[in-house]
Symmetry: C2
Subunit: 204 residues, 2 copies
């Protein structure tokens, strides 16, 4: 994923610049030390513009989360050409669980998972994450359904298989940035690939 | 799991009372609105005792996290008698992913996952979660190794299979409290049980 280019197109767009400033401030200070003041320090225009748009840090962060998730979704490998549903599904898994997370990818995933920590006690965050999870589940279920129609996959329950894959991917990405280890990502990727081959792919 | 009894034995123990006060305050206010003042409001003894023990909110919360994880580990079904490793492994999965999360269990998981959101930007939290994840992985790998010795499980890589199971369980519990839905827990449980039967259990 092209996290490196996340804000490459910010240019003079005020909204994109605010989002970039939020990203930088979150990366430097973490959620608990984050203030609008510190976001303002990263913002090239007048701080007062931020206060004109957002009443509180949390209101700004909810907009930021929406922006992050949109970026992630826009970058998903869905429009490329795939030979079949198995290749498509494996590409989706590889995209979310790459062999190595570079620094930009780690910052990006860290920002999302830090905001996720607000969700247990904040319904607005919960709704955003529920919608994002649902988006990945639906996309994954569609690929599995295509595979069943193509005769590539067995006649499994697409929703259940998709929920399982999305949950494992999420768990691995969350552990990657909250426990600072590559092991869960590697194990999840290998076992998910085995799952696709042994549980989903139809016998010849 | 007996979350309901988490603090049943607090009694007059000052440390346990501080932990209980932290739990109540976190439950009511969430991480971002949590202050030592608010923890003190839930504490039956003098607030100054808290300041004597902890210099900052984060120092107190790291102790609290350690306490939570110890409670979770102490309650794990490891000493019970099991017919074989398959039953043991399925009990571990069921314990972490019950059919329904009651309110106490939700509060408990919510508190842990809220603290997990601090980890991307805080090494002390990262180390705690790395140790907790490692504990579950090692325990799960031991059960799988027992199963291989018993001839119940195939000769799989115990570490990899354990990492996969722990990651999926973690992803489902995290989604449960950050996206407010039972679906990922149900799908993860069903597919993990299928994984145990089809990937781990040896053919007769």
């Amino acid at each position: 994923m092209s996290d490196t280019d996340l804000f490459a197109s910010a240019g003079d767009d005020t909204h994109a610049q605010m989002m970039e400033a939020t990203y930088e401030a979150l990366r430097k200070h973490g959620y608990s030390e984050l203030t609008i003041q510190r976001i303002g320090d990263e913002f090239p225009k007048s701080k007062s513009l931020i206060y004109q748009h957002y009443d509180s840090k949390d209101e700004l962060l909810v907009a930021f989360l929406e922006y992050l998730l949109e970026q992630f979704e826009a970058d998903l490998p869905i429009d490329a050409e795939f030979d079949d549903a198995q290749e498509h599904l494996e590409t989706l898994i590889e995209y979310a669980l790459p062999d190595e997370f570079d620094d930009d990818h780690l910052d990006f995933a860290g920002a999302i998972e830090a905001l996720r920590g607000q969700a247990p006690h904040d319904e607005t965050y919960q709704e955003q994450f529920a919608a994002a999870d649902e988006f990945y589940r639906r996309l994954t279920a569609e690929v599995i359904r295509d595979g069943i129609e193509q005769g590539v996959f067995r006649d499994v329950d697409p929703e259940r298989a998709a929920a399982f894959i999305v949950t494992t991917v999420h768990g691995a990405r969350n552990q990657r940035v909250t426990a600072d280890t590559d092991d869960p990502v590697r194990a999840a990727r290998q076992e998910l690939e085995a799952y696709v081959r042994t549980r989903l792919v139809a016998d010849e």
